[in-house]
């Protein structure tokens, strides 16, 4: 057995290496579990969003999609499916109805599932089948409009198809609000027989793709440069901006949480390494007197660290994997959908954390250990050669590097580093003042207060360092709790359970009253009616849109297409005035679109409404809450301008599952009215939000546990001195209660000040995070200021007294001998 191995076994027996190993395991397992879990969540979100797209990626084209593109996808072994969508008349018996038809290949959808039913207006069962050749699935609304049942025959162009199911949900259906006719799905093999697609027909061709992330990225890089006007590359994230936004914020939170875990891991490693080195200084000096050369010692410690790294990383990775499995299984019992399997290749992050932590926190201290002069055995107070600034610098740079590696960017790590540096200064300032003041107010050693406060000042530097560690951990906890609460509250506020899930379009003024009566009877909540007139912006001030954008590329959305114009007496729910004055007789523009088109108050827009030209100055700019699910408009025009044009009306409604069937039946009385059901998207968002809320709470719990362990490690790192002092006090006749009181004062004061500084830091960070990262309204958190110091005092003194309990129980002689 080698000398290194024998020494290591002895160190393990004494517990010193175990402390270091534990810190390494905590580091690796925390980062691994959170990294893997976040990866699984991301995969899950992608899948959820992919369900809306019916694929992982999609190419949409107004022209037939080139065979070369399909061939390339085939070469890359990507799954592919096709969908051709068009609007045409569907004939049945004596009826005809304009319908939105999708002709799909047999393997459609690649992601997600159809919801179909055999009963008219049924709620549907999920299926991944698609219509067979000769069959068509029609929506209940279309069936009722055509007065047909399952088994009946319909005609699409020249093809005759048999209705085999009622379509409840089409996974890749367009959510475009203004081309909504009742839907039907048929097999793409029947498309040629219909003869409905002739040159000039408005058809949308889609090539759906599914496969590995890397392969998709490779295909994207190949195909994107070939896209022409009228062709688009779509990703799940683009599909639902609301989901994208929600996921984005959650990912920011999880990323932040993970980064904080990295910081905590770093602190744990630094503390454990410092303790290891401190306890080994004399041992190395003795070994040197016995003839151990620096080369031998370097080899011994390098081998020890390497063995420690391998064992710690393997155990940490195993535990990390286990923890994320537990979190995932807890989560799967809370939400309906299950998470995809984690990717094994994400394990490198945990292993890298272990390696880098070892390299930056452990190695420099070990090198210092090896440099200790053997003379220390004769002169224990001999100055140990140390380059503290260098060691701290390496640790700091290493921590920053780890955060960059983890977040794959510089912004968040840079912000965190500045914050930590600022907090360090604050801790040094406040701590020094408070401890000094505490000392000057007390003298003597007759009460626990005096002894405790005196101890704080006497061990000023170690106590300030400990104060910093406590502060950072409490602050990180407060930040996470603060963000978690505000994110969840924000989401819940955005999407109340009764958020509108249907829109009614193309409603004529004469139908409004009847529809109002019917919805009232069914007890359905409904927004106001908004009139809509179509119009197109043709000029800004003196310049026509053609002059401004001659190549028809890069046009702002406001000029790109015909818009729905409305008028309103009030600014409307969810809208906020940014500048100007909102009045029923003014022109109001939505802020983002105004920004994109570089419009400001006073600019004149020329709008073509049904062939008539009107020119109006912009009198107000407002923000719109697109997430409110209320009808929203880019442009609100004066009533006097629009009221003479024929308008149709739009409204949004919340329809519960129970009232869906009666509602659809009633609406079949209004065949010209279009209904858009966004309930599926909403449900999907609500599922994701539910999943996210649970996920971030569990991640928070995980981080808090890691934080508690780091606190314990920090207390342990200064325990020996406290034990020695406690033992001496007891030798001198102090009662246990006095020693306990002194410990409580010392830890309590450390806890109070760390909680207080943490509250200051957390409030500042939350402000920054809310404004710059999460894009939410900043708010003041009174609870932080109460809970920060309270948590500090309770947690730190509990952990401190728990860790120091030996001083109160074990005979002082034993303690003094063991030190």
């Amino acid at each position: 057995m080698s000398f290194t191995f024998r020494l290591m076994l002895r160190d393990i027996r004494s517990g010193d290496l175990i402390t270091l190993l534990m810190a390494l395991i905590i580091s690796v397992s925390t980062v691994t579990s959170i990294g893997l879990f976040i990866d699984r969540l991301q995969l899950s979100f992608e899948q959820e969003s992919a369900n809306l797209l019916a694929a992982d990626r999609l190419i949409r084209s107004d022209e037939l999609i080139s065979d070369d593109w399909k061939l390339e996808a085939q070469n890359l072994s990507l799954e592919q499916a096709e969908r051709t969508s068009f609007t045409t008349m569907m004939f049945a018996k004596d009826s005809l109805q304009l319908s939105q038809i999708s002709a799909v290949s047999n393997n459609y959808p690649l992601r997600g599932a159809y919801l179909v039913d055999d009963t008219l207006f049924g709620t549907g069962q999920s299926t991944t089948d698609s219509p067979k050749q000769g069959e068509v699935w029609v929506s209940s609304r279309l069936a009722s409009l055509l007065n047909i049942d399952i088994g009946d025959e319909v005609e699409v162009g020249e093809a005759k198809l048999t209705v085999s199911r009622y379509l409840v949900r089409d996974p890749g259906s367009s959510t475009s609000a203004f081309a909504i006719s009742p839907r039907a799905v048929m097999n793409i093999e029947d498309l040629a027989a219909t003869n409905v697609i002739i040159p000039g027909s408005r058809v949308r061709y889609s090539l759906l793709l599914a496969g590995g992330r890397d392969t998709l990225a490779e295909y994207e890089a190949w195909v994107k440069p070939q896209l022409e006007d009228g062709q688009r590359w779509q990703t799940p994230a683009q599909r639902g901006e609301r989901i994208g936004d929600t996921i984005g914020r959650a990912e920011s939170f999880l990323l932040l949480a993970g980064t904080l875990a990295v910081v905590m891991s770093g602190v744990a490693m630094a503390l454990a390494s410092a303790r290891f080195v401190k306890r080994h200084l004399m041992q190395v000096a003795i070994l040197k007197t016995l003839g151990a050369t620096p080369k031998l010692l370097t080899r011994v410690f390098a081998q020890q660290l390497f063995a420690l790294l391998i064992v710690g990383a393997l155990i940490g990775l195993g535990i990390g994997w286990g923890i994320q499995e537990i979190i995932a299984s807890l989560l799967s019992s809370l939400v309906s959908s299950s998470l995809p399997e984690p990717s094994v290749d994400r394990l490198w992050l945990g292993a890298a954390t272990g390696f880098i932590s070892m390299l930056v926190f452990c190695l420099p201290l070990m090198m210092r250990l090896i440099k200790i002069s053997p003379l220390s055995v004769l002169q224990p107070n001999a100055k140990i050669e140390q380059n503290t600034v260098f060691v701290y610098l390496i640790g700091f740079v290493g921590m920053y590097g780890l955060m960059c590696l983890y977040t794959n960017g510089f912004l968040l790590p840079s912000i965190m580093t500045v914050v930590i540096a600022g907090i360090s200064l604050l801790v040094a300032g406040i701590g020094w003042l408070a401890f000094r003041l505490g000392r000057s107010l007390t003298s003597g050693a007759t009460s626990g207060w005096q002894i405790g406060l005196a101890s704080l000042y006497r061990r000023l530097v170690p106590n300030l360092f400990q104060l910093l560690v406590f502060t950072l951990i409490i602050m990180l906890t407060l930040i996470l709790i603060g963000i978690k609460s505000s994110l969840i509250a924000d989401w819940q506020q955005q999407l109340p359970e009764d958020a509108p899930n249907h829109y009614l379009f193309n409603v004529q003024a004469s139908q409004i009253e009847q529809i109002n009566d019917e919805t009232t009877k069914l007890n359905i909540q409904k927004s106001d009616w908004f009139p809509m007139v179509r119009g197109r912006v043709t000029a800004v001030n003196e310049d026509t849109v053609q002059d401004l954008y001659p190549e028809e590329r890069g046009e702002p959305e406001l000029f790109e297409r015909e818009l729905n114009l409305t008028w309103s007496d009030t600014i409307g729910e969810g809208n906020e005035l940014v500048s100007g004055d909102f009045s029923a007789e003014g022109l109001s523009v939505e802020q983002e679109s105004a920004k994109e088109a570089k419009l400001s108050l006073g600019d004149e827009l020329t709008i073509n409404i049904g062939g008539n030209i009107v020119t109006l100055p912009i009198t107000s700019i407002r923000t719109v809450d697109w997430g409110s699910m209320q009808p929203n408009f880019y442009l609100i025009l004066p009533k006097s301008v629009l009221e003479d044009y024929p308008a149709n009306f739009v409204s949004s409604l919340f329809i519960s599952d129970d009232s869906a069937q009666p509602f659809y039946r009633v609406m079949s009385k209004f065949p010209t009215v279009s209904i858009l059901n966004v309930g599926d998207i909403l449900k999907q968002i609500q599922t994701i939000i539910g999943q996210l809320s649970q996920a971030i709470q569990l991640v928070l719990l995980c981080i808090l546990s890691a934080g508690a362990l780091v606190l314990l490690a920090s207390v342990r790192s200064t325990l020996e001195e406290r034990l020695e002092e406690g033992a001496l006090l007891r030798v001198l006749g102090a009662k246990s209660s006095l020693v306990r009181q002194a410990l409580f004062v010392e830890f309590g004061a450390l806890g109070f000040f760390s909680g207080l500084i943490a509250a200051i830091g957390a409030e500042g960070c939350l402000y920054g995070l809310q404004v710059f990262i999460f894009n939410t309204e900043p708010s003041f958190h009174l609870s932080l200021w109460l809970f920060g110091p309270l948590i500090g005092v309770c947690v730190i003194s509990t952990i401190g007294i728990f860790a120091s309990r030996t001083v109160l129980k074990v005979p002082p002689m034993l303690l003094l001998r063991g030190l």
């Binding site: 000398f3 024998r6 002895r10 160190d11 027996r13 004494s14 010193d16 004399m282 041992q283 003795i286 070994l287 040197k288 007197t289 016995l290 003839g291 151990a292 050369t293 620096p294 080369k295 031998l296 002069s373 053997p374 003379l375 055995v377 004769l378 002169q379 224990p380 001998r817 063991g818």
Partner: protein, 227 residues
């Protein structure tokens, strides 16, 4: 160098830097110690005895002059070379024992032999602990031993590498009279039986008198005390 000279010191000066400026602790010391000799270095506290001992054992580097330990000139060697020389020639006994707290008595004694890669380390350590009367305490940890027992383990450890020179820094300084006497007896017996050169720093006149020679350290100068 004559073969019977274990230690030779020429014009040894040692200066340390403190807050108040440079302080010269040893001022031009010359001395020789022969093989198997026992030498006591005596003097008041702060006179530089331990500093001299540290330099003679190669634990520190002198400011100027030469220190020869057999054919090793410590003044021109780096720490790596000095450590090898210590492993080859030197054993230590300290006032505060300096046993490794995480190792059992037997493991402490095995250390020097293990560092040399000796396969019989355990057997030799057991024999040495038997010699110092601690064969019943092999697996005890230092904090489970009395002061006298700890120092006996330290002596066993010092002789484990069969050193040619044994440096002892106040070996009885932390012990009562009875234990002190036991330690002194052990030290001199082993010294004689193994033919070791003994260099000892002590305050104890009785102990110093037992040595072949006494060197007095005073104000950084070393003088021979005529017996």
């Amino acid at each position: 160098m004559a073969t019977n000279t274990a230690i030779r010191v020429r014009n040894l000066t040692h200066t340390v830097t403190s807050n108040t400026g440079d302080l010269t602790i040893l001022k031009g010391i010359n001395m020789e110690i022969n093989e198997s000799e026992s030498v006591a270095i005596v003097g008041s506290s702060g006179s530089g005895k331990s500093t001299l001992l540290g330099l003679l054992a190669g634990l520190d580097v002198n400011t100027s002059g030469d220190i020869f330990l057999y054919d090793h000139n410590f003044s021109s060697q780096n720490e790596e070379q000095r450590a090898l020389a210590r492993g080859e020639y030197v054993g230590f006994v300290f006032q505060s024992f300096h046993l490794l707290p995480s190792l059992q008595a037997i493991e402490n004694v095995m250390l020097p032999a293990e560092l040399k890669g000796d396969k019989d380390a355990r057997k030799k350590a057991e024999a040495l602990l038997d010699k110092v009367g601690l064969s019943h305490r092999l697996t005890h940890y230092p904090n489970q031993l009395s002061g006298g027992e700890q120092q006996r383990v330290a002596i066993a450890r010092a002789f484990a590498s069969q050193p040619k020179i044994l440096f002892a820094d106040e070996p009885t300084g932390n012990l009562d009279e009875e234990n002190g006497n036991l330690i002194i007896k052990l030290l001199f017996d082993l010294n004689k039986s193994q033919g070791t050169t003994l260099v000892m720093v002590t305050h104890d006149n009785e102990l110093a008198k037992m040595c072949d020679r006494q060197l007095v350290m005073s104000a950084g100068q070393l003088t021979e005390k005529t017996l």
